[in-house]
């Protein structure tokens, strides 16, 4: 499969297979006026299979959210068809309004205007806790807002 080279933009690489659509939707790439590509199940030596997103434009991306969804992702910044920078991601200390707390007893279930905030509580296990009810979530897993 051939996807045209991008001139100035981003390549989000090493996305765990099956997660690319989640990032695509999070970045609202289905609504942008420039060229984008979501390539799924690309053979990968390291991951077996991976997803890749190519964005033919320089856009603002919240890298902490990408790190939360999948900290193994790398982002290549492309200028004049050349990769000028590689950004490695890590799990952020805090994410806000990325996933929804699913605990029906949590105050967020009845106070609809408050942010859903999660704090990193165990980096090794990639675990986050809802700041209100302490319900635990694994990074990147959960109902996305």
């Amino acid at each position: 499969m051939n996807v045209q080279k991008i001139k100035d933009g981003l390549v989000i690489d090493h996305i765990r297979a099956g997660t690319g659509i989640r990032i695509f939707n999070w970045l609202k790439l289905d609504k942008v006026p420039f060229s984008v590509a979501l390539i799924m199940n690309v053979p990968s030596g390291h991951l077996g299979k991976k997803d890749i997103i190519k964005i033919d434009n320089v856009i603002d991306v919240d890298y902490s959210v990408l790190g939360f969804i999948d900290p193994d992702i790398t982002v290549n910044v492309v200028e004049e068809e050349h990769v000028v920078r590689k950004i490695s991601l890590t799990l952020p200390e805090r994410v806000e309004n990325v996933i929804k707390c699913r605990n029906p007893r949590c105050i967020t279930s009845s106070e609809t205007t408050i942010p859903h905030v999660f704090q990193l509580v165990d980096r090794k296990r990639a675990e986050y806790a809802c700041q209100y009810c302490d319900e635990l979530y694994r990074a990147g897993i959960g109902e996305f807002l």
């Binding site: 007893r105 105050i107 279930s109 408050i114 700041q131 009810c133």
Partner: protein, 328 residues
């Protein structure tokens, strides 16, 4: 030396701050030093209540109880009245604007304009933290669902400190429903912050303490613990026995309930196996897990605990309002 590694973080976070004006959302909001000062004040008030009978004159406490709780609400109100302050509030959600669809955040912003301090119980977990984010006055969590109940923990700690004269080096038995009991979880966390404490967890397998207490509280703090099935097998080792109610509906198998139910009922027969200075605690209300015959045993401290609860709340309100000078 403080055994909980989190203690250092709390110390760091709060080193620049005084207790005045702070919120109490969970027991860990106060450092060991701050707790010591609070308990010292509670003991001073206990010894000389008249000196503190006017310190909160002109101050108003709101008791916002979105779910019924006679004991805790009355304890807060009694505490404020005995400090010379006044109270207002409601005892059930039907009496609040939330029944008309108002958000908790808006209710809190409104009430905080009227009063100097708020004690709130709400069935939703995290409700107290939310309230603190929208309140200019101190918010005390009087219970947020099955999550935290920090003033019960203060009550338990003050009772232990007053009766045992120490907070460390104790063998603490937690008995009954250790899975769903928030008071047990808070007490386990709080007592793990003091050195040399050892826990004996007495429960049926269905109601064992959650794994996170073991992995996030006991293990990081190097706290020794053991799991037991029957109270009578271990009661002789205990300095403190914290009883909770085991409900039949918590068991998956009725035969297990029938086999074990009597083990979680404290009676005079089991008390005969216990140390002479055992201290029996219970967050109350009690149903049948402690036989009434045990009430007259001098080791039964659960009714004293109620009184300690009021003094703990008096000290807390006094400190959060910055009125802790006593009679000048």
């Amino acid at each position: 030396m403080i055994s909980d590694c989190l203690e250092r973080q709390y110390q760091e976070i709060y080193k620049e701050r005084t207790v005045k004006g702070r919120h109490l959302i969970e027991p860990g909001n106060f450092t060991i030093d701050e707790l010591d000062k609070l308990f010292s004040l509670a003991e001073t008030i206990m010894k000389n209540p008249d000196s503190y009978s006017e310190v909160c004159r002109g101050k108003v406490l709101a008791t916002l109880f979105f779910e019924p709780s006679t004991r805790t609400r009355l304890s807060f109100e009694a505490a404020m009245l005995r400090l010379g302050g006044s109270t207002l509030g409601f005892a059930e959600p039907g009496a609040s604007s939330t029944s008309k669809g108002e958000s908790l955040a808006d209710t809190i912003r409104t009430v905080a304009s009227y009063v100097d301090i708020i004690a709130m119980r709400n069935p939703k977990e995290g409700a107290a933290l939310l309230a603190s984010q929208y309140s200019d006055v101190p918010v005390i969590n009087a219970g947020d669902g099955g999550h935290h109940h920090p003033t019960q923990t203060l009550t338990d700690l003050l009772t232990i400190r007053t009766i045992k004269k120490k907070m460390g080096g104790l063998t603490i038995g937690l008995c009954g429903d250790l899975k769903f009991g928030r008071t047990v979880h808070s007490l386990a966390k709080a007592m793990s912050r003091y050195p040399g404490n050892r826990f004996v967890l007495i429960s049926p397998p269905e109601l064992e303490i959650p794994d996170y207490i073991i992995s996030r509280v006991f293990k990081p703090a190097g706290v020794s613990f053991s799991k037991m099935l029957r109270l009578e097998d271990v009661i002789g080792d205990l300095d403190i026995l914290y009883m909770t109610r085991v409900q039949k509906e918590r068991f998956f198998n009725e035969q297990d309930y029938i086999r074990l139910k009597d083990s979680y009922i404290l009676d005079t027969e089991k008390m005969r196996l216990a140390k002479k200075d055992l201290c029996v605690l219970h967050p109350l209300p009690r149903v049948n897990e402690i036989s009434p015959e045990v009430d007259s045993d001098p080791r039964a401290a659960y009714f004293q605990q109620v009184k300690f609860g009021m003094y703990a709340r008096m000290a807390l309100i006094t400190q959060l309002l910055g009125c802790d000078g006593g009679k000048k």
